[in-house]
């Protein structure tokens, strides 16, 4: 009986899933059709086939973007994907519009007029033109001279990724939490998620923070661990998220860790940091400066750079290896270059799956280590 009903549930669920997928597909194609007629002067037949173009493409991908781009048909010049809301704080106040108004332009050619301000997008950044200007002027380094950046609170691709990761977490772990009301042993997805939670608790938090105090920091550590991991994994999908490769994201994560361990530091921690006992008095101020710099700057910096650099490098390598298919076509022929690119990209992707976990683990591990240093209490004095 239960087996049959379970089977039914699974069937129902998969039908739901397929329905959602179909819905998404149709909406994407609808959006794509909507954008079909908006092409103007943006490289029809502009295939990405030279090393320079590939480099630019990879760089472009590593950046955040204001629309969700899936695929471009270079024959017709149609972009497939969907636009995302742009929310910017300009000199004239908050402006909200859809990114489709930029018509996929990323070089400052399309200027959007919104309630007295002229906005344009250059390399995934939104600029506000100065009053009176009608066209962006660039200097030798391709920096705009008559426009300045605005505060950009857009729902960019990274924000979509974060929201998606958050949603997945709330759904998955919410279900796990609800499952405990039915019985002490989780079922279904919970069986996978529970060991992960236990892993973070028993292998990361407890040994580093200590049995007495770890409980307080579990919410942060668990959230950060799964948040980073899911985003890293999302980055490996062809959807092409690069959220943890955005420096702003890793800075934010590191600052959260720093705020947590600086605000929860014990008296012993501050004594040891600012006025180290057992050291000649002359050296104490010097040590205090070094320790302070270490805790306030170096440790958070190491956290944010490690995550950022690893994820960015991973994406860069995977994309470069995929691009081998094109760059090596001349030298080895299409079959050999494709095969080589496939094997190498597959190999690196497997490693990237490991790195995705590893970076989440290391970030959480180091965070708990720093928290552990801060809350530690010494018995000997």
């Amino acid at each position: 009986m239960s087996l049959v009903s379970k089977g039914m549930m699974v069937a129902k669920k998969s039908i739901k899933f397929i329905a959602v997928l179909v819905l998404m597909m149709t909406s994407i194609s609808a959006l794509a059709n909507g954008g079909e007629h908006d092409q103007e002067g943006h490289g029809k037949g502009d295939k990405i086939d030279t090393p320079e173009k590939i480099n630019a493409y990879i760089k472009h991908h590593l950046q955040d973007s204001h629309d969700f781009h899936l695929y471009t048909n270079h024959e017709t010049g149609v972009h497939y994907g969907f636009p995302l809301p742009v929310i910017v704080w300009t000199s004239e106040g908050l402006k909200v519009f859809m990114s489709s108004e930029f018509h996929h332009d990323d070089n400052g050619h399309v200027i959007v007029e919104k309630g007295g301000v002229q906005l344009t997008k250059i390399h995934s950044k939104i600029y506000e033109l100065e009053a009176g200007a009608h066209q962006v002027q660039f200097d030798d380094h391709h920096h705009p001279t008559n426009a300045h950046k605005v505060l950009d609170f857009s729902i960019t691709k990274s924000v979509v990724g974060m929201l998606l990761a958050g949603l997945l977490m709330i759904l998955g772990f919410g279900a796990l939490a609800k499952g405990y009301k039915k019985g002490a042993i989780p079922t279904g997805m919970g069986r996978v998620l529970e060991p992960l939670v236990i892993y973070v608790r028993d292998e990361i938090a407890r040994p580093n923070i200590g049995e007495k105090k770890y409980r307080k920091f579990m919410s942060f550590l668990l959230t950060v661990f799964f948040f980073i991991w899911i985003l890293n994994l999302l980055g490996l999908t062809p959807l092409g998220f690069n959220v943890t490769g955005q420096i702003a994201v890793t800075v934010c994560l590191a600052i959260f860790t720093a705020i947590i361990y600086l605000t929860s530091g014990s008296k012993d921690f501050w004594v040891h940091t600012l006025w180290m006992p057992g050291v000649p008095v002359v050296l104490r101020p010097i040590l205090a400066v070094i320790e302070l710099i270490g805790f306030v700057l170096i440790k958070p910096f190491s956290l944010l750079i490690r995550l950022f650099a690893n994820m960015t490098a991973g994406h860069f390598v995977v994309m470069s290896l995929i691009a081998l298919m094109i760059t090596m076509k001349e030298a080895f022929g299409p079959v050999a270059s494709t095969g080589m690119s496939f094997v190498l990209a597959l190999f690196i992707s497997v490693i990237e799956i490991l790195v995705a976990f590893l970076q989440a683990f290391i970030f959480t591990m180091l965070s708990s280590l720093f928290i552990g240093m801060a809350v530690e209490e010494h018995d000997h004095h």
Partner: protein
């Protein structure tokens, strides 16, 4: 470094901070707290169960040891009781034996004394009877013998003959 600073988007930073903060708070309320609480409860439950099982085992062992001790004591007691009983039996037999012996000795003694007495009485009676008879016979004989003179002479002669023979 310049590139990094240029890539840093304050807006994205802000969005990330908000999202992360909200996510931490939501997850704490709806996921982490109930999950961790349940895990802790379960682990404590398991620990308690293990502890009580251990305790029960210990109690069982104690009980078994007690039983063993009681059994041992009972066995020893039985042994002593049996031994005592045997001793008592032996003693009783011994006593009975000696009692019987003394009794028998006494009886025999009494019997001997009685026999001796009877014997003496019988002897005395016999003696007196024999004396009487002898006197009677002697009287009769005397009467007979001394009825004539011849006879008296004969008697004296035979008596003298007898006396000679003696």
């Amino acid at each position: 470094m310049d590139q990094l600073l240029n890539d840093f988007s304050p807006g994205l930073f802000f969005m990330q901070a908000i999202i992360l903060l909200v996510l931490i708070l939501l997850m704490r309320k709806f996921a982490w707290k109930p999950i961790l609480d349940s895990l802790q409860n379960r682990e404590e439950g398991i620990q308690n169960a293990l502890d009580s099982a251990e305790k029960a085992k210990l109690e069982m062992q104690n009980l078994q040891a007690d039983n063993e001790r009681l059994l041992q004591e009972a066995r020893v007691e039985r042994e002593t009781m049996l031994k005592e009983a045997r001793d008592i039996k032996n003693k009783m037999i011994e006593e009975a034996k000696s009692e019987a012996e003394t009794q028998a000795n006494k009886l025999i003694e009494q019997a001997q004394t009685a026999i001796e007495g009877e014997k003496k009485a019988a002897m005395a009676e016999l003696k007196s009877h024999v004396a009487g008879l002898s006197l009677e016979i002697a009287e009769k004989i005397l009467n007979e013998e001394l009825a004539g003179k011849d006879k008296q002479l004969n008697l004296v002669e035979s008596m003298i003959g007898d006396a000679k023979l003696n």
